[in-house]
């Protein structure tokens, strides 16, 4: 295809991508480099139904208006927001490293910083959920491939349910089930004979429930892709393997898995990216006390009584950088394979 035709062909989507993906990211980056103007504060009389009149501090909006007209973006702060305690906490880490009481102390004090607390859960979620969900999806795909044609449709539908259900609703359903009067919570209390056992109270069990939910909701995606891949496994190769006396396990290990490997790379790529943005289960499980994620931090900055756009912007940019770092090994591998094939 001539370059010109190719260009004309992708121009509409290119424009859409610039408008809806590239420009917003640029605006987030610019936002993250700015903070609010220093506020001009005045003390004024304030009267309300309870407690009568008191002197209280207010923002002098007239004085602020002029500042804002001159510099509507706010005050340039460089990388200040990235390095403050709410994000990379450079000064705090320095202080912890220079004076501490051993490795355990360093870890617990760094974990006390909001960004690193969120990052730990985000990374654990990524690296536990992705392989487990892929393995589960693969097993479901093999099982569905083996069931008789008549019941295949309904089985596929039920296997896909976790993906069809809205993540927030799915997590709420599971959350209600693990309450001490829910079906799972009550059964566990019975099983371990411990009436105070609560999946919601301890950090470890909260993490375990969130990871379990992650695997449950992510498995269908792997299943769909692997199931489609299974339909392309060459029948001849499988038959010859059978003639050579390969068992079912050996056929899976030496024929099917190598055949599906490129697909697995693709699934891993998408899943890692998705899981790095984990958010809904934390809200659905009311797990803020024990588990936070980078996306939850952004949400927290933008909701509530005061909104911190610069801080939310910085966390967003750090999330993008995190995704890039995570995907680099997979991308390099894909690139090598691609070059290999061309040669």
């Amino acid at each position: 295809m001539p370059h010109k035709t190719f260009f004309a062909f992708i121009l509409p989507s290119l424009i859409a991508m610039v408008l809806f993906i590239a420009l917003p990211i640029v605006s987030v980056v610019v936002q993250s480099l700015h903070v609010e103007h220093p506020r001009v504060l005045v003390e004024v009389e304030n009267c309300q139904p309870f407690g009568g009149c008191t002197k209280e501090v207010r923002v002098d909006t007239a004085a602020m208006q002029q500042l804002e007209q001159e510099q509507p973006m706010g005050q340039f702060n460089g990388l200040g927001t990235y390095l403050n305690r709410g994000h990379l906490a450079v000064n705090e880490i320095g202080a912890i490293l220079s004076s501490n009481a051993g490795f355990g102390d360093v870890v617990s004090r760094i974990y006390n910083l909001p960004f690193y607390k969120a990052l730990s859960f985000t990374l654990v979620f990524c690296f536990v959920v992705t392989p487990l969900a892929m393995a589960l999806g693969f097993v479901i795909a093999l099982a569905v491939n083996a069931v008789p044609k008549a019941i295949k449709g309904p089985v596929i539908f039920f296997s896909l349910l976790p993906m069809i259900i809205t993540p927030l609703v799915g997590s709420l359903i599971l959350y209600w089930m693990i309450q001490s009067n829910g079906i799972i919570g009550a059964s566990l209390q019975n099983l371990f004979n411990d009436p105070t056992l609560s999946l919601r109270a301890s950090p470890v069990l909260t993490w375990a429930s969130l990871l379990f939910y992650g695997v449950w909701s992510n498995a269908p995606f792997s299943f769909v892709v692997f199931y489609a891949g299974l339909q392309t496994v060459p029948g001849d190769t499988l038959e010859s393997a059978m003639i050579d006396g390969a068992s079912r396990w050996e056929r899976i290990r030496y024929v099917i898995i190598p055949h599906l490997m490129p697909l697995a790379t693709f699934v891993a790529l998408v899943q890692l990216m998705d899981n790095f943005r984990v958010f809904e289960p934390i809200v659905g499980f009311s797990a803020e006390a024990n588990a936070t994620s980078l996306s939850w931090m952004i949400f927290n900055d933008l909701s509530g009584d005061a909104q911190l756009f610069g801080s939310a912007g910085a966390t967003s940019v750090l999330t993008i950088i995190g995704v890039i770092i995570l995907l680099t090994p997979v991308l390099i591998r894909t690139w090598r394979e691609f070059n290999h094939k061309v040669v």
Binding site: V35, E36, H37, P38, R39, L41, E43, V44, E45, N46, C47, Q48, P49, F50, G51, C53, E56, V57, R58, V59, T61, A62, M64, Q65, G74, Q75, N77, T81, N84, R85, G86, E92, N112, P114, Q179, S180, T196, S198, R200, A201, P203, S286, E288, A289, N290, T292, N300, L302, S303, G304, D305, A306, Q307, L308, G310, S311
Partner: protein
């Protein structure tokens, strides 16, 4: 088909008669009234009453939305503003004041506000910026039968509550006698603010945004909050105000500090286990650490008028809202809220809020940086409440998080 036609006709007649009964709220001229408010029963009632003012020249629409705090600043920043009326409380008026998005109401009050009482007017620097119409506060709900069974009098302080909880638990009457809305987030921070107000201390150094909670009062508050958790359901960190109401109605708990606006729904005859409603007593909020101030914040809900709208719309909006909070509406609905309107006769659900206000509780602070402190408290106290951090560290974390946010917000 015939049935449907009949229904439609009768509905139409109903609307007509309802319209005829209220149509005249006497708005002069034309205009558009667009109300944004939080979503609970009392505000929905005010909105529907204001909507009665719709005539040929005046349109009235209302959006009651729990996300109103996130909507109001962008919606009122544009010109003309998306909403002409923003219904706010002590805390949610602050972002509107900070960005200068609402107009002074003195001329409108003089012209159309004959039915308003002087204490309804929220005055800032001598200018009326909002008109309050209802009060709200958290206060003590307790089960008289359970306390009697353990031989206890009405708890007046958090120390009494702790002693009562211990007695009830030791006597084997109830496993988890106390409930509180300490879910990390807005609720947990509000619990801290409540208890800290009860110590009588200030949150900030006078006249500045410098945080001043890192002292013995702050430690006392945290110790009390943590001591109470020993008598709570182990899932306490996931309980918000609605969850503890459900626990209380199910008969699982004997004492809770809960919103006055939920009192009506708690003591009505719906959804409660047997014996709960008739034994519930609504009392003033407890004091803390030997003080005499109830350890809760007082709240008002009121309306403000947007700045970026025409004077005609502002006049129509003000008149519609004055009709919405009219003494007639309040007289017809005394049980819905603790109204601040003239002629209000408190019902049984309002006694807790009124007792708390009479005992001298303080209002939720309106400093421009209070929201930043609330957010810092909401995420940094979670580990302390879970028991994995000590009080001094928790206060240090709150200060560090607040300082970071206040610098970014331009206050420090």
């Amino acid at each position: 088909m015939k049935l449907m036609l009949k229904t439609t006709v009768s509905l139409g007649v109903l609307c007509l008669t309802a319209g005829a009964a209220f149509a005249d709220c006497g708005i002069e001229g034309a205009g558009s009234v667009r109300i944004l408010s939080n979503d609970f029963e009392a505000l929905r009632l005010v909105n529907t009453t204001a909507e009665e003012c719709a005539t040929d020249g005046v349109t009235v629409t209302a959006n009651a939305n729990a996300e109103h705090k996130n909507l109001q600043v962008p919606a009122l920043s544009i010109n003309p503003a998306e909403y002409t009326v923003a219904v706010v409380a002590n805390n949610s008026i602050v972002p509107l004041l900070n960005d200068d998005l609402i107009r002074p109401l003195d001329d409108l009050v003089a012209k159309y506000g004959a039915s308003l009482q002087p204490n309804q007017l929220i005055k800032i620097d001598g200018k009326t910026m909002a008109v309050a119409f209802m009060g709200n506060a958290q206060h003590l709900f307790y089960r008289k039968d359970i306390l009697d069974q353990a031989g206890l009098a009405e708890p007046k302080s958090y120390e009494d509550i702790l002693a009562a909880a211990k007695a009830i638990k030791d006597a084997g009457i109830m496993e988890y006698p106390v409930a509180a809305s300490v879910k990390p987030g807005w609720d947990l921070a509000a619990e801290f603010v409540n208890a800290y107000l009860g110590t009588g201390a200030e949150f900030f150094a006078p006249g500045s945004a410098e945080l001043a909670i890192d002292n013995e009062n702050g430690l006392k508050v945290l110790e009390t909050m943590r001591a109470l958790t020993a008598y709570m359901d182990p899932d306490y960190l996931t309980f918000d105000a609605n969850s503890i109401k459900a626990e209380y109605e199910a008969g699982n708990t004997a004492m809770m500090v809960e919103w006055g606006s939920l009192a009506g729904a708690t003591i009505d005859d719906e959804g409660a286990a047997e014996g709960v409603v008739e034994n519930t007593v609504l009392a003033a909020a407890p004091t803390i650490g030997g003080g005499s101030i109830p350890a809760v914040a007082l709240w008002w809900d009121g309306f403000t008028i947007a700045k970026n709208i025409s004077d005609e719309d502002a006049a129509a909006s003000f008149q519609a809202m004055v009709h919405g909070i009219s003494p007639e509406m309040v007289a017809a609905n005394p049980a819905v809220a603790t109204w601040l309107v003239a002629g209000y006769e408190p019902g049984p659900a309002a006694v807790g809020v009124i007792a708390t206000a009479n005992a001298g509780a303080r209002a939720y602070p309106m400093q421009p940086y209070m929201g930043l402190l609330h957010t810092a408290l909401s995420s940094e106290l979670a580990e302390f409440m879970a028991g994995t951090e000590d009080a001094a560290q928790a206060l240090a974390d709150v200060k560090a998080a607040y300082d970071t946010a206040a610098k970014e917000g331009g206050y420090l």
